[in-house]
Point group: C2
Chain length 394, copies 2
């Protein structure tokens, strides 16, 4: 490894600060001595860094350690629930959502504002997104909470190195610099603004909330008006060489079918997206569709069965290509799971070549349509956790 | 990292032996002192290990080092072209191939034996494969070459942890333990027998022969009677959670189409495989197809164009999912490249959502149908390079 510049004291402190914070996050209740033992840092260094993190409001130090056995008891360190929060923002086709999440992962506030963003100009939608961000920041201020990072989820292709939204077909957007656009409309907090595809953020939220025993290899399918996939392999998001990976909505499932926003025909989302299913079932939207399904109405059930077949065609190819046996239904698909899962599973079993040796599973995300904005907020939190010193210094 | 047992002297020697050999492979012509400087080992240790590797026939030491400047000249070390070879074996649907490759990567011998393996029993094909291996080993012995490892390429799903061939639909094989079957038919050399999917070995061969400036992110499509994909991302083979990844042949490209060996209808290989194209063109096989294409015959050209469209449907989904912009046409597709590439590229440009920001490319593999067996032989060579001490000791 070559470094362009020698690592100075500041670089070392940034690194060690993150190390100490991670040790406290991993085992809340540890003393300074425990942290020194687990990180290999001296007690004096740990004490300096703990003071710095506590001064910045990231950790709290309380009472005596509650553990059995002999020896001196240290005070118990833990992440502060009032520490810096991550702000998640999601600009979806039919809503704008914001979410504030704390260092310990808890969601403090989540707000969804319905709107048909397709019928509005880009400037208008960005104006609304800016307003949503201002309101969320004001809410945080009113609660005495600092915001240490922002994550923005969008239904489109986001170039990872630049954070530029290249295209969001369902919004009709091209080349939008979201951090700059939002910064022009609201006073963003110091710290990075992470922009990412909503399906990828949703898959990360699923990974992070499923706990240490949760699946580490799965495809999270976000069924909304568009359809996106987030691929998690070995506990890591796989987003391709530039961040464009996981594009599932334009998977060709029919040589005919209606014209898609991408210009092609027979794309998965025109035949198995939330609006396509509702239209086929003869109902107005997702809520009405769920009601019709619950009432056992035939057109609704047959529309979902047909969509399950289309989705099975696309997902079987995904599973064959990636050799991942678990599908997590997210977004509106999570609500359709009781009717969607069985025919989908049948389609997958018929087409996934590795299925006999590792049964395919289809589960519903507990987070549903909230997953993307929660993932965006949690990604911002992880950004703070990875470099707490920058937050303290700012 | 926890080790079950303390690392003994033998473990250290194995590690350092590989380190010294890699240093010599990276820069042939180095002296013992150069190797000591680049590895950080003492000159005494390097000398002991160089003697051991030279004694085992893996390296040669010759003449004076050819470099300018003052200072003592050491002798020049390099991999021995007569060092242990890797033996590659490929059991394909319509041939059995063997390949001997040396430590420096050169192919010493490659032999393809045509046969319609679908019409023969598993035992019969295994008998022929055993015979091919015996002949290749005899050839190596006649040339005074030791074989240090074996790689076996098969057109099916190979479970990575066990090396068990779970299913090869085009051969009609199920649960075949190839190392055991081959060992029962021929005296295999000491050392591991690596079994893998032919498309994965072909992709590795493409990666390893394309040099340091070659593509590091590509999908290698092996078009034979079946169709397989080998996915390379960041210079690493991606083969999924169990090694079953890259299954492309059963990608559904039509809701109708002939019944496939997998049981489904409309699978890519039934519509765009080598036999399907030849049948559509009204010719007997690949050679006749290429002749008809070169002569500008319309049925042949239209058959290839149709296959290109099918392949484009499947590959656009692969590229959208993985965000990889390069397709390498391998196997019989390499020979069809002059006629296949343009309509395929047109189909991909129309469907790959990230194409405007990173143009899709379609190139032909220089290795063609030899790629898989060469990749199997090279994998065996890399096994020797990773643990030369075991070869010396055996």
């Amino acid at each position: 490894m070559t470094q362009a510049r020698p690592a100075g004291q500041h670089t070392v402190r940034r690194h060690n600060c993150a190390l100490v914070l991670a040790a406290i996050a991993d085992s809340p209740g540890r003393s300074r001595a425990d942290v020194a033992a687990s990180t290999g840092l001296t007690k004096a260094t740990v004490s300096t860094l703990v003071d710095r993190l506590a001064g910045g409001g990231l950790i709290t130090e309380s009472g005596r350690q509650d553990r059995p056995g002999p020896g001196r008891r240290g005070t118990s360190l833990s992440l502060s629930p009032r520490g810096p929060h991550g702000l998640g923002v999601e600009i979806a086709v039919d809503y704008i959502a914001t979410c504030l999440a704390g260092l310990t992962g808890e969601v403090r506030e989540l707000r969804v504002r319905r709107a048909d963003n397709r019928s509005l100009s880009t400037a208008r939608v960005l104006g609304r997104a800016g307003k949503a961000v201002r309101e969320a920041l004001a809410e945080a201020t009113a609660r005495g909470i600092a915001v240490g990072g922002v994550g923005v989820a969008v239904p489109g292709l986001v170039e990872e190195p630049t954070g530029l939204l290249r295209v969001a077909p369902n919004l009709g957007w091209h080349d939008v610099d979201l951090p700059a656009e939002l910064a022009a409309r609201t006073e963003l907090p110091a710290g990075p603004v992470l922009v990412g595809n909503e399906a990828n953020f949703a898959a990360l939220a699923q990974l992070w909330t499923s706990g240490p025993d949760g699946a580490r290899d799965f495809v999270h399918v976000s069924g909304e008006i568009g359809i996106g996939a987030g691929i998690v392999i070995g506990g890591q998001l796989f987003s391709g060489t530039r961040g464009f990976g996981g594009e599932l909505g334009h998977f060709p499932v029919s040589s005919r079918g209606p014209r898609c926003t991408c210009g092609a025909r027979g794309c998965l989302e025109t035949l198995a997206g939330q609006e396509a299913i509702a239209a086929k079932a003869g109902v107005a939207g997702l809520t009405e569709l769920v009601a019709a399904l619950s009432a056992g109405e035939r057109p609704a059930r047959s529309a979902v069965r047909e969509a399950a077949g289309r989705l099975g065609t696309a997902l079987s190819s995904v599973l064959n290509l990636l050799d991942v046996p678990c599908v997590v239904l997210g977004g509106s698909y999570a609500r359709l799971h009781p009717w969607l899962a069985e025919p989908l599973l049948a389609a997958l079993r018929a087409r996934v070549t590795g299925a006999p040796w590792s049964p395919v599973t289809v589960t519903a995300s507990a987070l549903g349509s909230e997953a993307a904005v929660r993932g965006a907020a949690s990604s911002a939190v992880r950004g703070i956790m990875a470099d707490p010193d920058s937050f303290v210094a700012s």
